[in-house]
């Protein structure tokens, strides 16, 4: 890490210098200020005649995939980046990696403007897209590793050291000399991660690294990311659809929906703020009927002797007191709702009245497989 830091090229323009000073002073590794990306999407009207007309006169709509997002991520932070499909997560990551040029606002990563695609910057980060592979399909992964070693100018000694470490953490040993196309999805993802980390990037963008993997493999990848981050103090921004990933790895989460940042803070805080209901679980000495319980809250589960109720946050203590008085309660537990439930209700609430989402971000990428 320290070796990398000293390679940092001297900033040339005054504004670059200002950013470099600011970021070294506050350790801010990723800084987005009012970051905005607007896509111009061609409208495709239904029907043959309309399609023909569209050949001659195209109409466009503007889609704000990322809308006025500001955030700062410090060195060594592991931040979970959440949002429903098409929320703008991938677009944001792509702007941070220099694949897309912001329409408005600005972003600095390691003091660089990513879209300039300076090699000095590119040598210091890695982007892993769970749905794309950069390994050579018909060759063993070790060959792709060698190419990356040359591309990133990794010395022989450092390469051997890093590869040994990664092989150890990811249990790559027997996989390295097998053609990539013969590996399972999970094995391939392990190799993808290793390929992306050979040059020991300071910043790592992980877009759905566990997508499509079985539970055991998800767990392994997750443990690896955590271990790697602890070991190297790498700055990691992770998107995932699996809340388990986020729960296990991220203290801080950033939630984005319809391109806008709607939450940035600790995971616990997210649950507190958006999970406006708590879970009351009762063990009863004398069973109570559903009807008798319904007046206290929404019944989540009901076995005569054990009941779970969802109760609005503000009424939890009052309701608990009433229950204790009215029923023969053996035990009572008050729990925070599950993160997954919070996120689900948060996103589904927003999604319900939103039908044109399919054209946005990831949704559209599916149509024409670019990205």
């Amino acid at each position: 890490m320290t070796a990398h830091a000293s390679d940092r090229p001297t900033p040339t323009t005054p504004s670059e210098r200002a950013v470099a000073i600011a970021s070294s002073a506050s350790d801010a590794t990723i800084v987005a200020e009012r970051l905005t990306k607007v896509y111009r999407v061609q409208k495709k009207p239904p029907g043959l005649l309309a399609s023909l007309r569209a050949v001659f006169r195209r109409t466009y709509t503007e889609v704000r995939a990322v809308d006025d997002v500001s955030l700062t991520i410090r060195r060594g932070e592991l931040v979970g980046f959440l949002g429903p499909n098409g929320a703008g997560k991938t677009t944001t990551l792509k702007m941070m990696a220099g694949l897309l040029e912001p329409t408005g606002g600005r972003v600095r990563v390691l003091g660089h403007e990513p879209f300039k695609r300076e090699h000095a910057f590119q040598r210091r980060f890695a982007l892993v897209l769970g749905q794309k592979n950069q390994l050579w399909w018909d060759l063993p992964a070790s060959e792709s590793f060698l190419l990356n070693k040359e591309i990133y100018g990794v010395s022989d000694a450092q390469y051997r050291r890093t590869l040994a470490e990664l092989s150890d953490l990811l249990e790559l040993g027997p996989l390295l000399d097998v053609q990539v196309r013969k590996l399972s999805l999970g094995e391939r993802m392990k190799c993808e991660l290793a390929a992306a980390l050979l040059h020991q990037p300071d910043v790592l963008f992980l877009d759905e690294p566990t997508i499509g993997l079985d539970v055991v493999m998800q767990q392994k990848i997750r443990e690896f990311i955590g271990a790697y981050q602890r070991e190297h103090q790498a700055t990691i921004l992770l998107t995932s659809h699996y809340m388990d990933d986020v729960k296990a790895l991220c203290e801080r989460v950033v939630v984005i929906d319809q391109g806008q940042l709607i939450f940035d803070g600790a995971l616990r805080e997210l649950v507190r703020r958006f999970g406006d209901e708590k879970l009351l679980t009762l063990d009863l000495d004398a069973p109570a009927s559903r009807e008798a319980l319904a007046e206290y809250g929404e019944i989540v589960s009901w076995e005569p002797a054990r009941v779970s109720l969802r109760v609005p946050r503000g009424q939890v203590t009052a309701t608990a007191a009433r229950l204790l008085g009215a029923l023969q309660v053996h035990d009572l537990a008050i729990q925070e709702p599950d993160v997954e439930d919070v996120i689900r209700s948060l996103f589904s609430g927003n999604l319900r009245d939103e039908e044109g989402r399919g054209v946005r971000d990831e949704g559209r990428e599916g149509e024409r497989t670019v990205g």
Partner: protein, 265 residues
């Protein structure tokens, strides 16, 4: 340099994985000129020259086309089109390396493998047509110019195919445009027959296209006929096309990347 050697080595290893496909494409490259050799053997039964070409010259030209098809006609457009459509280009754009050089190294690797296929076929043809070829000779002083012009033909082909591949930024598939290119190249590039056999007006069209710089120019340098009678004129023409196509490729690349980004990068 070590980087590009590694790229070439990997691409060769990769190309070797596609032995069966390579063999089929190899037939596609070799068969048309070999069939043309049979055609010429028949045509020359009734006449001594065609458009100023003696039989020996015509056969030398045809075999030359065969060798160029095997060793110079690279297909960077396919690799490029695939990367654009699959979105793999994104993973290339964030790497600290020269992507065009990577494509060039990849193309060299595939042609190197194809060269290994081509040499035995060339030797077979020389044995088969040996008697008819007697009478042509390749003066030693033409060899340096010929060698240079083959290398330049390779570079012309690279930039031209790069431009074709970049069209993939705007279309879903470059199949149409590459098929059209093949048809045009066969007739107006001098693949099927020397340009001298074309009617005058078509020759004019052929002279303003870059494809002649890949096939017709090196072969006319080899024979000392046509535009290659003065070899350095032919080489100047190739260099001119390299500059033009390089410029065009740069323009298309920039515009194409903007297009690529506008649909989500």
């Amino acid at each position: 340099m070590r980087l590009y050697l590694t790229m070439v080595r990997l691409s060769i290893a990769d190309a070797i994985q596609y032995r069966v496909e390579s063999a089929i494409y190899f037939l596609y490259e070799m068969l048309p000129p070999i069939m043309m050799a049979f055609v010429w053997l028949t045509v020359y039964q009734d006449q001594a020259t065609v458009a100023g070409y003696a039989l020996s010259e015509m056969l030398a030209y045809t075999i030359g086309v065969m060798v160029l098809r095997g060793t110079v006609t690279l297909h960077v457009e396919w690799a490029l089109d695939y990367e654009i459509r699959q979105g793999l280009l994104s993973t290339q754009l964030i790497r600290p390396f020269n992507y065009w050089a990577f494509l060039f190294a990849d193309a060299i690797a595939w042609r190197f493998v194809r060269l290994l296929f081509t040499v035995p076929v060339l030797l077979g043809c020389l044995y088969w047509l040996g008697p008819e070829l007697r009478g042509t000779s390749l003066p030693l002083e033409r060899l340096p110019a010929l060698g240079l012009s083959v290398v330049l033909a390779y570079v012309v082909c690279f930039y031209l195919k790069l431009c074709l591949g970049f069209i993939g930024f705007w279309t879903n598939d470059i199949m149409g445009i590459t098929t059209l290119y093949e048809v045009v190249a066969n007739v107006l590039g001098g693949i099927l027959i020397p340009l001298a056999l074309l009617p005058d007006w078509l020759q004019v069209v052929a002279r303003v296209l870059p494809i002649q710089a890949i096939y017709s120019v090196p072969l006319s340098i080899m024979l000392g006929k046509g535009e290659g009678a003065d070899p350095w004129l032919g080489i100047a023409l190739q260099v001119g096309w390299i500059v033009v196509l390089w410029g065009l490729a740069r323009v298309l690349w920039r515009a194409g990347l903007r297009q690529y980004e506008s649909v989500g990068g």
